[in-house]
Subunit: 164 residues, 2 copies
DNA sequence: GCAGTGTCGGTGACACGACATCAATGATGA
DNA sequence: TCATCATTGATGTCGTGTCACCGACACTGC
């Protein structure tokens, strides 16, 4: 047929693309639910665990830096951090040299929780390990990376995992 | 090392799995933002468009049926539908034979909007068409389907697209 | 110094997503 | 028939994601 590079597409093609969109959506939702289940006993949500994770990895960060590292949230994650501060898991101290910024770091209590967080992520990892071989996981990652080229989230991920 | 099949995994492996989780998350977020941008002029959100889509595809459905077909939302999407009814895009009539159920269908106004919805989905499709070849898209779909085996979302998708 | 520009963090508004609970109704079986 | 159980849909609550907006502050060039 006279199908060209990036034009409309047949009905079947549209359908396949819609399925693909839904598959991505579904994978995210299922993963999030799984993670939420694992984290619930610790009183944490996936988003909160994300924040704790980057702080555990990178040490002290400003709010904007955290916002750029985590995939979630376009703006700055002020409110999620608020909850963590209230629960004494994260310390927030105003910057002295640049007085706009806020420096975030884990408290001792927050560091203690990291073990639980790691264990929860492990549960999700197991599911993926069982479903896909190492090579398939690599293929999946490569394709998704390709889809995300040129997006902010893509940048965030390659900054966090790339060339690592 | 005495590393076995589906046990803990090395540090590098854990890192790779975390990246994979984030890639899925990022793909979903970026897609959703893209779709939201396209739908905003029409005053629709991606979730709302989802509901309109299934109703356009399948005709009249009950709330529970819609809930099972769409990937989103674990319970029943009462509230999203509420908004659509208020905006006169969806008709909601109580069931007569089973008086618990509620029958949903598109209004003429809702059907008119479908063109816009289709066009918005198209925009997202284009992005995927440009990033991946047909074969790569197929691979991606296959792998994601595998990850979703045994999950509710997986069921929903194969019910909607499977054996089609 | 100073005006214009951009960045940082916070907040209000709105809609979702997930969970728990509830009343109404239907289905089942003693 | 009647008690029990399951399903449907609605609702309250909480946290999140997104956008728009704001004030505070830093930086740049003049």
């Amino acid at each position: 047929m006279s199908r060209r590079k990036a034009t409309a597409g047949s009905d079947a093609e549209t359908r396949a693309l819609a399925e693909l969109r839904h598959l991505v959506l579904a994978a995210q939702r299922e993963g999030n639910r799984w993670l939420a289940d694992e984290l619930r006993p610790a009183g944490l949500t996936p988003s909160q665990a994300e924040i704790l994770s980057v702080l555990a990895e990178q040490g002290e960060l400003t709010l904007a830096e955290v916002g750029r590292l985590i995939v979630c949230e376009t703006g700055s994650p002020s409110r999620v951090v608020d909850l963590l501060v209230k629960r004494n898991l994260v310390r927030r101290e105003p910057g002295t040299v640049d007085r706009r910024v806020v420096h975030l770091s884990l408290t001792a209590q927050g560091r203690d929780l990291m073990e639980t967080v790691t264990k929860a992520e492990h549960a999700l990892n197991m599911a993926m390990l069982q479903a896909l071989s190492a090579q398939e996981r690599n293929t999946l990652a490569t394709l998704l990376r390709r889809v995300l080229v040129g997006t902010g989230s893509g940048e965030a991920i390659s900054k966090r995992y790339g060339l690592g």
